[in-house]
Symmetry: C2
Subunit: 233 residues, 2 copies
């Protein structure tokens, strides 16, 4: 089907609504849509080429993920970015990620080990190719996400995994914000390798300590470098 340029086209999900949600999520996370920016239907309709109804469904979904807030009868806006929210988010992420990590290490099979190793390998390759400023690289971000996802992928806990993924998205927005103001990128390569080795070596305690500290450190850096653009709680 050869649709016109104006008409919306599905790329990712199967339904248009889920596709719009995906694109909106990306624009919010990368801060193309700024925190607190109000999401007017007319404007969105223009840039996404979908109808009121379809946009509404996508927005409803993003509200439940915490990336959009709805003031009933007064429309939607991009969720604010605050120090309070960052702390809340960081705490929740550490609690859940540590639990998933421990159980993934307990239950992980050969396939899990392969997923962890290969995703780290890909990440390292991208870092080699673009040693400078890889944190703003879209390819690196996808690989980074996949590595962390691989680590917890054997936990066998769909509920917590779904929550984890949602929180990861919310955190990515803060990471991007931090990257915009950080003088030079932090070197996470060492941390990632240590994480992989502890996981594959089935050293659960160490892996959990590492992931907790990894998340906490990232959060601290965000607070440090992006505090200027984060509105007060």
């Amino acid at each position: 089907m050869t649709t016109t340029a104006l008409k919306a086209r599905k790329e990712f999900g199967k339904t248009l609504a889920s596709d719009i949600a995906h694109r909106l999520r990306n624009e919010i996370v990368t801060c193309q849509l700024k925190p607190n920016e109000s999401l007017k239907f007319d404007a969105l309709r223009l840039s996404f080429g979908a109808s009121f109804t379809t946009l509404r469904e996508a927005l409803t979904l993003l509200v439940s993920e915490g990336l959009v807030v709805a003031e009933e009868q007064r429309g939607y806006k991009v969720a604010p970015v605050t120090l309070e929210d960052l702390h809340d988010l960081t705490h929740a992420r550490i609690l859940i990620e540590v639990d998933l990590m421990r159980r993934s290490i307990e239950k992980g099979d050969d396939d899990w080990e392969i997923r962890v190793i290969s995703s780290l390998h890909r990440l390292a390759r991208i870092e080699e190719r673009a040693p400078e400023d890889y944190a703003s690289n879209t390819e690196w971000k996808a690989a980074h996400r996949q590595f962390h996802e691989a680590l917890v992928s054997a936990s066998g806990s769909p509920t917590l995994l779904a929550v984890r993924n949602s929180l990861f998205d919310r955190a990515e927005r803060y990471r991007n914000l931090s990257a915009m103001f950080r003088p030079h990128p932090r070197d996470k390569a060492g941390e990632h390798r240590a994480l992989m080795q502890a996981a594959i070596g089935r050293n659960a305690d160490q892996a959990c300590a590492l992931i907790a500290s990894h998340i906490q450190t990232t959060s601290n850096n965000v607070a440090k470098y992006a505090s200027g653009v984060i509105s007060a709680g």
Copy 2:
């Protein structure tokens, strides 16, 4: 505004969609809408008196809460009920509730203590009035929910609290299922009082152990009494 009987009317939320979501959630949790039952738009439109679009928004919301599953292009159905899901849910609930409980005890102020004590008092009164079979009592369920909500209400963690509430709803469906097949109701009154005393006494370790065991025991009972109606994982 005096609308006709056929027309949908707002009762709870401000928008019709959130109201429909609320009513649908209730029907699913109480098993008036049975697990795996497919949710056809025409039928729903008839019983709720809302349009396709509004129902769709409500369903999208419930999908993100795990009470409804969407098979894209093939419609929505009530989320299945399985032993696997129950275990997954129980694990997640214990992890999160214990964390919230500990921090609530740390941070709780006078108002928090009052909320805990008064909500337990109300719960006890309802149990006195209707000693038999109170678990199927709507009033008791609301009070029960409020007591548990009060316990963790001082944690100061909006993210985890939102997840907790969603998981509580999912668990309520299993509790109701269990109550339908249980020979005689379990006496939770003692557990609830002990929980209150540990919390108010700022005995965090004991309160956490109690809440974990409370959730786990309930889950075990569900598995015991409702296993007949729970489809295999």
